[in-house]
């Protein structure tokens, strides 16, 4: 399995406008207008700020259900997940499963590694087009 780079860092915010304004005002980061939006099926909306070759992904729950809403309720705002870029997400999932690692099925080029297999860190595998 080849991890090409760290794709992005996920940050949970309770209010997207406030979260983005914080990072714009305090650090001068700018939103990527070509990425992000509402993802109702996952219960959150997102926005991205590039920092070099990596991105910050801001995640705000838009429903009471789902992992982002749970994170916001249980732990508040802060870092949520680490996204690792892979060349072939399906191959990466198969490889990890062959090692006995629990990984969800890849959907839309994204798969999540079980927290139990990463000492509690939320890890995402992502295949960019």
């Amino acid at each position: 399995m080849k991890i090409s780079k760290i794709d992005h860092i996920g940050i949970v915010v309770k209010d997207m406008a406030t979260g983005l304004a914080t990072y714009q005002k305090h650090f001068g980061f700018t939103v990527d207008p070509d990425k992000g939006g509402d993802i109702p099926a996952m219960g959150f909306k997102n926005a991205f700020m590039p920092v070099g070759e990596t991105n910050l992904e801001f995640l705000q729950p838009i429903s009471e259900e789902g992992p982002i809403a749970q994170q916001a309720r249980d732990r508040g705002e802060g870092t949520y997940h680490l996204s690792l870029a892979v060349d072939d997400v399906n191959a990466a999932v198969e490889h990890l499963r062959s090692l006995g690692i629990r990984v969800g099925d890849a959907t839309g080029g994204i798969a999540y590694v079980s927290r139990g297999a990463s000492s509690g860190v939320v890890l995402q595998l992502i295949q960019r087009p």
Binding site: G52, T54, T79
Partner: protein, 138 residues
Amino acid sequence: MGIGAQYIDHIVIASNDSAATAKHFSETFDFPIKRTFARPGTGAHMEFAKLDEVVLEFAGPGTVQPYDEVKARMGGFVVAVEDIEKAVAAVRAAGFPCGDPHPAVQPGAKIAGVKSGTGGVPFAFIQYNALPIEEAKA
């Protein structure tokens, strides 16, 4: 207002056993641990891997206490800046406390932590080639 951010330099994975966590990640995701470091006077044990331009820093206590399971979580991240004094001044001018730049673990580098205004994310700046290497080792 800008801080002169260049790129995300490193991301911290905090663990109750950083060596075990680094070994697990290295073996599972097939990347090498490039460096280990025990910080004198702090009891911290750190291990480092590099994925493209970003370093993964596994940080934990120098003395591992007995545990039922290895626990880790994403900590914060560190942004490389062109001029750390200017970055710190800019954040302070925006009304947020920021630590003074001080020698980092990385030879020749200075680091400063931002203490609030980050939406709950531990956040710091690092500037490389900010110090003579000898001073950084002192």
